[in-house]
Symmetry: C2
Subunit: 337 residues, 2 copies
């Protein structure tokens, strides 16, 4: 058992896009587990856009991160010492104690990794973890997507968007994805095999580009971006269309509140529904999702890419890189073998 662990702390709430100076790395002693506790060495941690919402003193749907304390997030680790009979040294586990090398946990905060040794563990932070579950809930439960429908996905090459695209293809939908990068566009079209890709940086009229790609209109819009993407989706939404509002990354770092879509009245004209959701509200259905997801991975219908930063000290750069398109697929930090 090591004597020292390392943690990433938040020093201050970022103003606009976070910078490295907003974070610090701190050495702390490793405590021995007491009865009922388990000591975990983290091997992988996740950085996700939603974390930006917690780096603000404003109350949001999750409480703000505390300053001068370890940040939190999904992580995978290995039990290195256990005083809980259900966990043994060497067990692979998931927890919410990312952003640190070691964590002392009680059973309520610790879960065994699903039993699928043929699948890389870090997939359970990505397509088979929170981002994948977010895709699955938004598409199926919130948007109630049906086979044969046309689905538009923004940030389609991202950790959530790429799973939405593949789940929708697997259920027989026509899928249109948007990205701002030609290489990601190529991957979406040729590897993932969606029906049309829009590179939003190549068009001055996203609404017209979407109309071209979806001549029969859009039944489901999976919203990750906000702004012009939402306007384009509303312009093209079909009667009884659904918009699942997962995120609006275009507005997260704004200092001023961004103005909303100018065509929101399309909701009435098209009898359309726009609904926000938080994946944690639906966590009870995670086992159902992960069973389906593991099958899709094994059949080849669900694939992914990942960008890995090595070492805990790189976690702030990995997080900041999310807002700058530095990731290809799921952004991960590898903390140990």
């Amino acid at each position: 058992m090591p004597e020292t662990a390392r943690e990433i702390h938040l020093l201050r709430y970022p103003d606009g896009v976070p910078t490295p100076d907003d974070f610090s790395i701190v050495d702390v002693p490793v405590l021995k587990p007491l009865d009922g506790e388990v000591l975990v060495e983290n091997t992988w941690m996740s950085v996700d856009p939603y974390m930006r919402g917690r780096m603000s003193p404003r109350k949001s749907y999750v409480p703000p991160f505390s300053l001068n304390a370890a940040l939190e997030g999904h992580a995978i680790g290995r039990v290195i010492s256990s005083r809980d009979p259900r966990f043994t040294e060497g067990d692979l586990v998931t927890s919410m104690t990312g952003w640190r090398s070691h964590a002392l946990l009680e059973r309520d905060y610790l879960h065994s990794l699903p039993d699928a040794p043929d699948i890389p563990a870090q997939a359970f932070l990505g397509p088979l973890g929170m981002p994948g579950m977010t895709a699955w809930i938004g598409l199926n439960k919130i948007a109630q997507c049906q086979p044969g429908e046309t689905v538009f996905v923004s940030a389609a090459a991202g950790a959530v968007g790429s799973v939405v695209c593949q789940l929708a293809k697997a259920k027989g939908c026509r899928v249109i994805g948007s990205t701002g990068d030609p290489e990601k566009a190529d991957w979406l079209k040729n590897t993932i095999g969606i029906d049309a890709v829009i590179n939003y940086r190549d068009t001055s009229d996203l609404s017209a580009a979407l109309a071209d790609a979806a001549p029969n209109g859009v039944d489901v819009y999976y919203e990750n971006v906000g702004g012009a993407h939402l306007e384009a989706a509303l312009d093209n939404i079909n009667i009884n269309g659904r918009i699942a509002v997962c995120g609006m990354i275009s507005v997260y770092n704004n200092r001023e509140k961004a103005t909303g879509p100018r065509n929101l009245f399309r909701l009435t004209a098209q009898r359309a529904r726009m609904e926000g959701f938080i994946v944690t509200d639906h966590w009870a259905t995670y086992p159902e999702f992960v069973r389906e997801g593991i099958e899709l991975v094994r059949s080849g219908a669900l694939t992914w890419r990942e960008t890995v930063y090595e070492g805990l000290e790189k976690a702030p750069d990995a997080f900041i890189g999310l807002f700058d398109g530095k990731n290809t697929g799921k952004m991960l930090v590898k903390l140990a073998e």
Copy 2:
């Protein structure tokens, strides 16, 4: 049977707020009913904000009105000559052939007035007609409002809003209404008996005013207005809140598209739902609504006010007055005794 009928025609699509010059009054011959046809003399016609949407060449959820032809809208009339055995001279009927003194109709376009001689016929153009049905569908079917919830209603003294307020009170909700007129505020508070009224002209911060009036937040927002009202509702919406989007009168006459709410991401943070609807999609349930509505009128739980313009030639002024707050309650035009 008269020889001449009169009709209001639309001469051109208005640019911004309609003006009297956009309309003309035209004399036309009255035709004799052929087999299966019924000649109706209209006694009342309705003017409603939604008609503005049809006075535009753009395709909307209803087709544009034709230029140089009689406008259309809900009307009540009396059969003066019938070649359909189901209708007899003197029968009171409803149709969509407003904006004209007489109309020749086939049975599919003609309905008997519900049998409630104790209730003034024109109520079936207002609280017991399309506006009342719009209130009932939006509150119950779209927003799925439950007893005990807090309901915020914009344009609360209007033809739709005032029915929403009373239906919500009748089901045991806490009701907050907004209006821009002190006299209407007084009527809402003291005659209708809602729990709180906000005069939006008296406050520079509608969101704070709503927070004061709804200290436990808003479960249901019945949207008639758009703009600052929608932002205030989103700021105060509770978790799992619902927004029924009936209309956005603040944007109907805009030449430029109005910007949307700056806080739309509240839908995600609050897991809230925003849904548009068109009352005609739900018309099959009109008999259910009208049974319930007639009972509420008879019990005194549903009351209304009306503003009556006399004579077909006043119909354009009545319509234009809708956008200028000239009406108190339902705006009607009386065409004949």
